[in-house]
């Protein structure tokens, strides 16, 4: 047991507990706060995996934008959705069964797959490599542009859909 493994186990336990609270919490605002906790532990996992840029993006984009957007949506739609009463539909047990079955199947498959582990360390200039790959025509410039067009379309689309028509 190294220090890294102990940090991973603690982070993973917090992540699983927070995720369980997200799907079971009766009060939706509490569920959103637990979602922020689990997103933050995912950022810690990214830092453990030496992907510092992604850890920062996780905090800025997921916690700073998406989680806040979700909290706004909860508060805008709160009036009819009282926090009393069951928050699950009548087929919740079937959903739990499917989720458990999927986890069982993944658990069963996991040991039998052998991955070609590289056993290399992350180069010092990996962030620079990533930045150049994003704008290099021969690498990922096209997916990058498609992603920005997608974001623009989503922005305009959500304004049109949610906008108040007189």
């Amino acid at each position: 047991m190294t220090a890294m493994q102990i940090i991973f186990l603690i982070t993973g336990a917090i992540l699983l507990a927070a995720s369980t609270m997200v799907v079971t919490a009766r009060n939706l605002v509490h569920a959103a706060l637990w979602l922020i906790a689990s997103l933050f532990t995912v950022a810690i996992l990214f830092a453990l995996l030496e992907a510092g840029f992604l850890a920062a993006v996780q905090v800025v984009l997921y916690i700073g934008a998406i989680a806040i957007l979700i909290i706004f949506a909860i508060m805008l739609t709160r009036r009819v959705m009282q926090d009393s009463g069951p928050q699950t539909n009548t087929q919740w047990w079937l959903g739990g069964l499917i989720a458990l079955a999927l986890f069982g199947a993944l658990w069963f498959i996991l040991p039998s797959v052998v991955y070609p582990l590289a056993n290399a360390s992350v180069p010092d200039n990996s962030l620079k490599t990533l930045g150049f790959a994003l704008v290099d025509m021969n690498q990922y410039a096209l997916p990058f542009e498609v992603a920005s067009v997608l974001l623009l379309v989503a922005l305009i689309g959500s304004i049109v859909v949610a906008g108040d028509r007189k």
């Binding site: 799907v23 979700i70 959705m81 959903g95 989720a99 590289a118 290399a120 360390s121 992603a147």
Partner: protein
């Protein structure tokens, strides 16, 4: 070093918790939160594979960045739809939104 299988097991667990949330929750916003959990589980897997298989290559992180962009677009459009439905029908319960059901 942390074994790769630990990351995969953790991500599988988070994905299944998110799947349960999507299948069992009544409130449409809670369903979206379950989807966010599932996307995060996938991102853990992608970054773990990048770190253990091709750390010198940018492709694994690129995948994760595209997933970030798609997740942001999905959250914006999904929440806009929910707010629009709430305005017209005064409900956010997924079972009551059956306009297109025969």
């Amino acid at each position: 070093m942390i074994p790769l299988s630990w990351y995969l097991t953790l991500a599988a667990g988070v994905f299944c918790i998110g799947l349960y949330g999507v299948l069992a929750r009544k409130n449409a916003v809670a369903i979206l939160m379950g989807i966010e959990l599932m996307l995060n589980a996938v991102n853990i897997n992608l970054v773990a594979f990048w770190r253990y298989l091709t750390p010198g290559n940018a492709s694994g992180q690129m995948f994760a960045i595209i997933v970030f962009a798609v997740a942001a677009a999905e959250a914006a459009v999904g929440l806009a739809l929910i707010i629009s439905i709430y305005r017209r029908r005064n409900t956010v319960i997924a079972e009551d939104i059956d306009l297109m059901k025969w």
